[in-house]
């Protein structure tokens, strides 16, 4: 039969249904007993009428033609008279003392209607029901066979091998400004009053050369020379210091080098009235007056070498006057333009006009990260490209594999003018705090979990590559087909399709009835009606609607928020499971829906569903949930019966995981097999280098297995897709669309499997038909 469910019919059905679907199914089953057992046809004659109806006055035994009853009764009476033990009916016949031909049937007829009733009640086996009727006979045995019921359910799951992404690692760059000052100040040798040396630090007048000699000697020695003095300091005519084995010194006048060597001779020769004096370096005249080149007046004489101030008596640069020296004992000096003479520590010197440059020295803890940024992609500090007003930079090279990207740069010590060595220094920012997101070459994997061992590998593919080094895969995904539920079980089915009853007279009665397989279908369609009526979206008027449910796999840690519980933990959250552990739990709500997992999707559904389960005020946790004070997870956890410690662990750790509630809900929905997987996509990237940080897996999830089956297969019938991972189409059907669906063509076995009792053999379905109160739970 082709079954089409008209929406209105569904709504009516849902409106009339007040019990749980199983109870309704049971009622339907019992109501059908009349049909199933109503006609036991006599195979030995043309008897075709319903025996119970045709038995006038109830005096004919079940299935016996009243028109021949007396004939059969006479035969039976005769048989009993001749041999009282020949037939079981004889005992009753004789006891009744009814000698009428039909007496046996009158007698039996008083009993048989009760048996008919029992038969109609389905209290099998029938021979037991008829044992005391006086018409006992022999039944042909029903055949029994062992069949496999249920099925295995597989889910495609993923794991990832990836290099660890480390997000937003902080670092700082702090600026130190160093002043590098060069003094223009030089001590001036005033030939009118004597020799003043700077660098060499010598001064003297004629005949007082000891200091000068010492300077030269010390300098040559500082340069590694062995020195020897020659000449006479007192005569003043000439003297010299000869160095050997060391480096050369340079003799300068007015900054001009006049010779380099290790032999220094000074001569001072009176020539007539004048004085001729000069210096020879390495026996060559290098500076002289009167005969030598160069002017001595206003000359600045600087004796320098490759070492500074070898004589410890020379004063080093001071903090106040860096870069220049003065000579102890100097009394009068004249200074060049821009410099002025001052007496410092009792000594004369020239100061002023320091030529300082500022050198920035960054204390940079970001350097390691910055070196891993591909060339061209590191903006100036404080600049944060956003792809809009501040465009993203463009790489000019691939960079390393373990590349980084600077994600933020903030000035944490704003610009100001600071006093450094009495020097005002102004900068726009004195410290930046930056963050870098990097790919570390640190392999991580969630593919080594033991549970994958029981899954079938479907394949491995690269899901993220280095955009600048395309052959470098940074994340691989391996897909598995995993069995998530196995409802298969061996059941012994009794097939009485060919069963006959042969009474003691030899009459054969067709009592055959085949195993009934329609129960699950009955429940499925009733449940479809209930859900259509109970869960219609009031805004869109959609039926069998799903919800866009997503979860995230973060590649920057070990947390996979898409991980399922693996133990069908989602099934703990079905309405029936919750009701079962609640004192107020009643089966008034649909027990095939999972309202608890859809709190954030459709809170009204949950409120309505739970209210019907618990009643108002029966659970303070429920009240908290309805008031929005209790998260769904904790609410459900609170309802799980079990050791306090397990629940406490769940309570504590739920706050430590970095998974969002919606991720957890999605995982639970998947656990309950309520979802259709739509694949995944990279949902979070480092903006410039493009490294994927997070993958989102999308699903359309439904609040029942039946809704999932109808939605997915209905869309297939209507040529509608489920959408993509980025844009799922989880919507339901309009009334018009629903009318087009062919439910009979749908495979609702997953739902039906949920309906069928499990582990009950051989007469599992009988509980539906016989009104038993001890039917096993089916959830």
């Amino acid at each position: 039969m082709r079954k089409r469910l008209a929406p209105m019919a569904l709504l009516v059905c849902a409106g009339l249904a007040h019990g749980d679907p199983m109870s309704e199914a049971r009622a339907v089953g019992q109501g059908s007993v009349d049909t199933i057992y109503g006609g036991i046809n006599y195979s030995g004659s043309a008897w075709t009428q319903d025996a119970a109806q045709a038995s006038t006055g109830g005096n004919a035994p079940y299935g016996v033609d009243p028109s021949t009853a007396s004939t059969q009764g006479a035969a039976l009476q005769a048989a009993c008279a001749s041999n009282p033990a020949s037939r079981a009916e004889c005992e009753g016949l004789n006891a009744s003392a009814d000698t009428a031909n039909s007496g046996v049937y009158q007698n039996a007829g008083q009993i048989v209607p009760q048996d008919v009733y029992k038969l109609r009640e389905g209290q099998l086996p029938i021979d037991s029901a008829l044992a005391d009727t006086g018409i006992a006979g022999a039944y042909s045995a029903c055949t029994t066979q062992t069949v496999t019921q249920g099925q295995q359910y597989f889910d495609e799951q993923y794991c990832h091998d990836y290099y660890l992404r480390v997000l937003d690692q902080p670092c700082t760059k702090t600026l130190d400004v160093e002043l590098v000052c060069e003094s223009r100040v030089v001590l001036r040798v005033n030939t009118a009053t004597g020799w003043y040396w700077c660098g060499g630090c010598a001064y003297n007048r004629d005949g007082q050369w000891s200091t000068y000699k010492d300077q030269v000697t010390n300098l040559l020695q500082a340069l590694g020379n062995q020195t020897q003095f020659a000449g006479s300091l007192t005569a003043g005519d000439y003297w010299g210091v000869v160095g050997t084995g060391g480096a050369a010194m340079t003799f300068k006048v007015n900054g001009h080098a006049y010779g380099t060597g290790t032999s220094f001779w000074y001569y001072h020769i009176h020539i007539g009235r004048g004085i001729s004096y000069g210096i020879c370096v390495n026996n060559s005249p290098t500076f002289q007056q009167s005969g030598c080149t160069g002017a001595i007046n206003d000359s600045m004489v600087d004796l320098s070498g490759q070492a500074d101030c070898p004589n410890p008596t020379w004063r080093p640069p001071t903090e106040d006057y860096p870069g220049h020296y003065y000579c102890p004992g100097a009394t009068t000096i004249s200074c060049p333009a821009g410099s002025e003479a001052q007496v410092i520590d009792g000594n004369s010197t020239c100061i002023g006009d320091l030529q300082c440059s500022e050198r920035d020295d960054w204390q940079d803890s970001c350097a390691g990260y910055a070196s891993r940024v591909p060339p061209g992609l590191l903006p100036p500090d404080g600049v944060n490209p956003d792809g809009g007003l501040v465009p993203f930079p463009v790489a000019t090279g691939p960079g390393p594999k373990d590349k980084c990207e600077r994600t933020t740069s903030v000035c944490t010590q704003p610009g100001e003018t600071r006093d450094i060595d009495d020097h005002p220094v102004t900068r726009d920012c004195w410290q930046y705090t930056n963050t870098f997101t990097c790919l570390d070459l640190d392999p991580k994997s969630d593919c080594d979990q033991p549970r994958w061992g029981s899954c079938t590998t479907l394949g491995t593919s690269c899901i993220d590559r280095d955009e600048l080094i395309p052959d470098f895969c940074t994340a691989e995904q391996t897909r598995f087909s995993c069995m998530v539920a196995d409802t298969t079980r061996e059941e012994t089915v009794t097939d009485c399709g060919t069963q006959v009853y042969q009474d003691s007279s030899g009459a054969v009665w067709d009592t055959g009835h085949e195993p009934d397989n329609d129960l699950a279908s009955v429940v499925a369609f009733m449940e479809a009606g209930r859900e259509a009526g109970g869960y219609i979206d009031p805004d869109s008027l959609e039926l069998f609607k799903g919800f866009d449910s997503r979860c995230k796999k973060k590649l920057f840690g070990l947390v996979n928020c898409c991980n399922k519980g693996g133990t069908s933990s989602g099934s703990m959250f079905s309405n029936s499971a919750i009701a079962a552990v609640s004192a107020g739990g009643q089966a008034a709500a649909s027990t095939y829906t999972f309202d608890a997992l859809f709190v954030s999707d459709a809170p009204n559904w949950v409120i309505n569903g739970f209210s019907s389960v618990f009643g108002s005020g029966t659970s303070s946790a429920l009240a908290g949930l309805l008031a929005g004070q209790v998260s769904v997870e904790s609410f459900l956890t609170s309802l799980i019966p079990g050791p306090w410690s397990i629940a406490m662990l769940a309570l504590q750790f739920s706050g430590l995981l970095s998974c969002e509630d919606r991720d957890i809900e999605t995982a639970l929905k998947r656990d309950a097999r309520l979802c259709v997987d739509l694949g995944g996509y990279c949902s979070k990237k480092v903006p410039i280098i493009g490294t994927c940080l997070e993958r989102t897996y999308s699903h359309c999830c439904f609040n029942s297995l039946l809704a999932k089956a109808i939605n997915t297969q209905g869309k297939a019938q209507l040529g509608m897709g489920m959408g993509s991972a980025k844009q799922p189409n989880c919507g339901g059907f309009t009334a018009a669309q629903l009318q087009q669906l062919d439910l009979a063509a749908m495979d609702l076995s997953e739902f039906m499997d949920q309906v069928r009792p499990q582990g009950v053999s051989p007469t599992a379905t009988s509980c539906y038909f016989q009104g038993e109160t001890s039917c096993p739970a089916v959830h």
Binding site: G557, V630, Q652
Partner: protein, 124 residues
């Protein structure tokens, strides 16, 4: 146990609870224990309230955290977490209430001062 003794115990528990900081989750206690060596808290949030009601106890949920070791990742350490609650009523499989008793649970966990689990928790 006499009613007087019970009152004394409850009073002591209440005094202990009052001396503790109230936290809405375990995380701040873990972080504080990493920093100071130990932390004591009283878990009080809507979830904990619902939890207590489920287990039929009005006693506070007390959590003691002690740092018991270091971790190779800087800023992380190993912590021992002790949770206790008095007067807990558990139920058997049929949902029947069992006699109330004091519950105590101890476990250890690696955690970091930044408020997350160590990245190198596995394999490193």
């Amino acid at each position: 146990m006499s009613s007087r003794a019970l009152i004394v115990i409850l009073a002591l528990l209440a005094q202990d609870a009052m001396a503790r900081q109230t936290v809405s989750s375990l995380k701040p206690l873990l972080v504080e224990a990493l920093r100071k060596g130990s932390a004591e808290g009283l878990l009080a949030n809507p979830d904990a309230k619902a939890f207590s009601q489920t287990f039929g106890s009005t006693a506070p949920i007390l959590i003691d955290v002690v740092r018991i070791g270091s971790h190779q990742e800087a800023g992380c350490g190993r912590l021992r977490v002790t949770t206790s609650q008095a007067g807990v009523v558990e139920r058997d499989q049929k949902g029947h209430a069992l006699p109330a008793k004091d519950q105590r649970m101890v476990y250890q966990v690696n955690f970091c001062g930044s408020g997350r689990f160590p990245i190198g928790e596995e394999g490193r």
